[in-house]
Assembly symmetry: C2
Homo-oligomer: 140 residues x 2
């Protein structure tokens, strides 16, 4: 388990520090998409002197090195969407551009899929796609 972790750090030329080990352990222990705050709280139990800035920096480096990913939340730096039809979003990886993507055929496909494949213990209200990629610049 932590062998893999050490290996990744080595490969990237990153030092194996007690802080990084503690944060890695916290993440493998904490389930359900912890916030930075959750992670800090967990680590402080065994590692009370860790600096919050360090935790943020380490988390960023883990994301860069694909040990973690980030989940979108509905809070802060919100962007507003005035179209209220059921549509999806195209997110550009290079810019902060977000475009709407409407596709009734796709909506129908998904709706039918979930009619026959219910999710255990969960009642679906809405399904939205986050489609990440790159816009083709040549045609604006």
């Amino acid at each position: 388990m932590s062998k893999f972790f050490r290996k990744v750090l080595k490969e990237k030329g990153l030092k194996v520090t007690p802080q990084r080990v503690a944060i890695f352990e916290a993440i493998t222990h904490l389930k359900n998409h912890p916030t930075a705050e959750n992670i800090i709280a967990y680590i402080k139990k065994n590692h009370p002197n860790i600096s919050i800035g360090t935790v943020y920096k380490v988390l960023d480096s883990f994301v860069e090195n694909k040990l973690l990913s980030k989940v979108k939340t509905e809070k802060d730096i919100m962007r507003y969407d005035s179209v209220l039809t059921n549509h999806h979003h195209l997110y550009c990886t290079e810019t902060d551009r977000i475009e709407d993507y409407e596709d009734d055929q796709l909506n129908e496909l998904i709706e039918n899929y979930f009619k026959t494949h219910q999710i255990k213990n969960f009642n679906i209200q809405e399904v939205k796609l986050q489609i990440t990629g790159k816009f083709n610049k040549s045609l604006k």
Copy 2:
């Protein structure tokens, strides 16, 4: 156009104020998912004395009254996700619970769909579903 707007406000018992009208106009004019900052900047041109707090409060009330919705971004109050398989997320409307949802059959369905239905001027790198709904409490 603004008749609909006035009607909605009336129905909800909300007063029609110049600020609300200006914000509504800004939103109908600005495309591409403006931030609160974008909206404030636009309004200030014709309405230089509007208070930022007012803009935030009005936007919130518009979201409550379904004139707007919010779009998730990747910034701030991040939550971290240690599972790096291609999975989706279940968001609970009642709590802040987020669960992973893995479904290879669904992934395949979507992948095949986009193979035959390319999005114009956009190269897809990743497709993730945000499935919003309610967890069935009885079974935890």
